[in-house]
């Protein structure tokens, strides 16, 4: 083991250290609308391994959301995520007609009426965010990576998931941000500030990618160039996962990594395809899909009554 690796891991363990991996938590809602005017209010809660989101949908339209770091236990994370937005808009749990839980901790959302897998919810959310032309969805989550095909209604037709290892996940990105001591949001832009595009580090294992990255730094690479090599590895990894189900036009990326142009642009470059643009925060796709599922269920119930 070389000294630098040891130093880096000691630094990791130090609690007082600045947390470079920490991404922005935020609460957003449509101030031009009043939720009190809505007939049906549904809520989707996505308790992921790393982040939790609560999304409110009024009459089938996105109204607002809150996104935060997942805490130690799922029920609290779910509650806190929802409370975070309800407090700001003066809403109470009783005002919500239906709650759908999704994500890794979906069965632990105490106030949810139903749990739906994140695969189905991401497809549904992406269909709303990117429109009905979306056919291939790549979700890069905190601790997994999913590739999904869906039809024009956002119904899943084919999917696969890789949650066995950290390669190609948000966790993998946090590792490099910590190693480089650079805030996670800066990684993408920095990765393009290089003289020449370097070759990728290991795309199969984050541990090896990390030690290769250290080696490159020692060999005199600039931090930006090492980040570029790492982003390229991440891109190659997820593309290799996508290959199993294939990529169709109408390509859409969800999850936290969608916010990292360093990975997204490289995926687009490898695939030779541009992703469908959206103005909505990519991290809420799962919770949004869950809330939309809730809305459909409410409509079905109303019809049946």
């Amino acid at each position: 083991m070389n000294a630098e690796v040891a130093a880096a891991s000691v630094a990791e363990a130090a609690p007082e250290k600045k947390e470079f991996w920490r991404w922005q938590e935020n609460t957003v809602w449509d101030e031009n609308k009043d939720w009190r005017d809505a007939k049906i209010i549904t809520c989707g809660i996505d308790v992921g391994s790393v982040s939790s989101q609560a999304v409110l949908v009024c009459d089938g339209e996105l109204y607002g959301y809150n996104s935060m770091r997942t805490g130690n236990n799922s029920p609290d994370s779910a509650r806190n995520a929802l409370q975070g937005i309800m407090d700001k808009i003066g809403m109470k749990l009783e005002d919500i007609n239906y709650v759908v839980g999704t994500g890794y901790g979906r069965v632990n959302v105490p106030f949810a009426h139903k749990a739906i897998t994140e695969i189905a919810c991401h497809a549904r959310g992406a269909n709303y965010m990117g429109g009905n032309k979306v056919r291939t969805i790549l979700d890069m989550g905190g601790q997994d990576c999913k590739a999904i095909h869906c039809d024009e209604k956002g119904k899943v037709t084919n999917f696969l998931m890789n949650d066995k290892c950290a390669a190609g996940t948000g966790r993998g990105m946090e590792v490099i941000s910590d190693l480089m001591q650079i805030p996670i949001a800066e990684l993408g832009p920095r990765s393009f500030d290089v003289d020449v595009e370097p070759e990728a580090v290991s795309s199969i294992c984050v541990v090896f990618a990390k030690s290769e990255a250290l080696g490159l730094l020692k060999a005199g690479y600039t931090k930006n160039k090492v980040i570029a090599a790492y982003c390229q590895a991440m891109a190659e990894r997820v593309v290799s996962l996508l290959e199993r189900i294939g990529v169709e036009e109408g390509f859409f990326i969800t999850g936290g990594i969608a916010k990292n142009p360093g990975v997204v642009k490289r995926i687009e470059r490898i695939l030779g395809i541009k992703q469908v643009e959206t103005k909505i925060d990519s991290q809420i796709a799962g919770a949004l899909g869950a809330a939309l599922f809730g809305y459909t269920l409410m409509q079905k119930q109303a019809k049946a009554a």
Binding site: M1, V10, C205, V206, K218
Partner: protein, 269 residues
């Protein structure tokens, strides 16, 4: 005749100089290890490291370069050994070396720093089949290394600590990165270090064992590679494979280099 085997691992270079000994009336050839030399590449490039390790081994053995008839290389970086006449795979070299040391061995388990594999071999030390997990830290020594760092123990202390535990805490994560979080939460819940060490080594052993099961466990089992030095791992592996005995060579990290040198010698005949 002297031949050399060079094993370019991910962390270290291993060199074995082998001398063929003529014994009158002996039915088969005998060899003696002239010199085994290990070097950590440290700050120098891989190709320079091979050259340096080879030069040092020659000097230590008192052998000149032209006395070496043939140099074979193995390991992940074998193509970087410019002065090697030929390269052989880690499977071929590992099986050959292991069976030379233990003729009764039929299953070779090779766990190094960054790679782990199971090899099935015949009585000539020819690899029949293998299964490995290349380029993934989870089934190899670096997993244990990362976890020992999290526990602030040296690798040696880590292995010894594991032997003091009789608990079986299952680890869910298949990935080193995810397992690190599991270890951290075990530390936070005040789980004794020896129990965590055992949990980690059990996890590596079960992954290695699963790989070996893909080729089938047959005959005597020999473990080669750096993890032989970790008694906790050896114990966990025995439990996982459900075998009473695992043969442990004396210089475990040199077995592949030895296999390489043997193959080089045999090709001369």
């Amino acid at each position: 005749m002297i031949t050399a085997g060079i094993d370019m691992g991910s962390r270290s270079v291993k060199v074995v100089l082998l001398e063929e000994i003529k014994v009158d009336g002996a039915p088969q050839l005998n060899y003696a290890v002239k010199k085994a030399h290990l070097m950590m590449p440290g700050d120098i490039d891989a190709d320079q490291a091979a050259e340096k390790a080879f030069t040092e081994a020659l000097a230590a053995a008192g052998v000149s370069r032209d006395q070496v008839k043939s140099v074979f290389a193995t390991g992940a970086g074998r193509k970087q050994v410019e002065f090697a006449t030929e390269g052989v795979t880690e499977m071929t070299a590992g099986a050959r070396g292991a069976v030379y040391m233990y003729p009764q061995a039929r299953t070779v388990v090779d766990v190094g720093a960054e790679e782990g594999r199971g090899i099935k071999t015949d009585s000539d030390g020819k690899a029949i089949d293998f299964a490995g997990n290349e380029k993934c830290a989870a089934g190899a020594g670096s997993f244990a290394e990362a976890m020992s760092r999290a526990l602030q123990l040296t690798l040696k202390e880590f292995g010894e600590a594991s032997l003091r535990s009789d608990k079986s805490i299952p680890m869910n994560a298949q990935c080193t990165v995810f397992a690190e979080s599991e270890v951290v939460s075990l530390i936070h819940s005040a789980t004794p270090k020896e129990d965590i060490a055992k949990a980690v080594l059990d996890a590596v052993a079960s992954r290695v064992c699963a790989m070996v099961r893909r080729v089938g466990i047959e005959g005597n089992v020999v473990l080669i590679g750096g993890m032989v030095h970790n008694p906790g791992f050896v114990q966990s592996l025995k439990n996982a494979m459900d075998v009473d005995q695992v043969l442990l060579p004396e210089l475990p990290e040199f077995v592949s280099a030895l296999g390489c040198a043997l193959i080089a010698a045999e090709r001369q005949h």
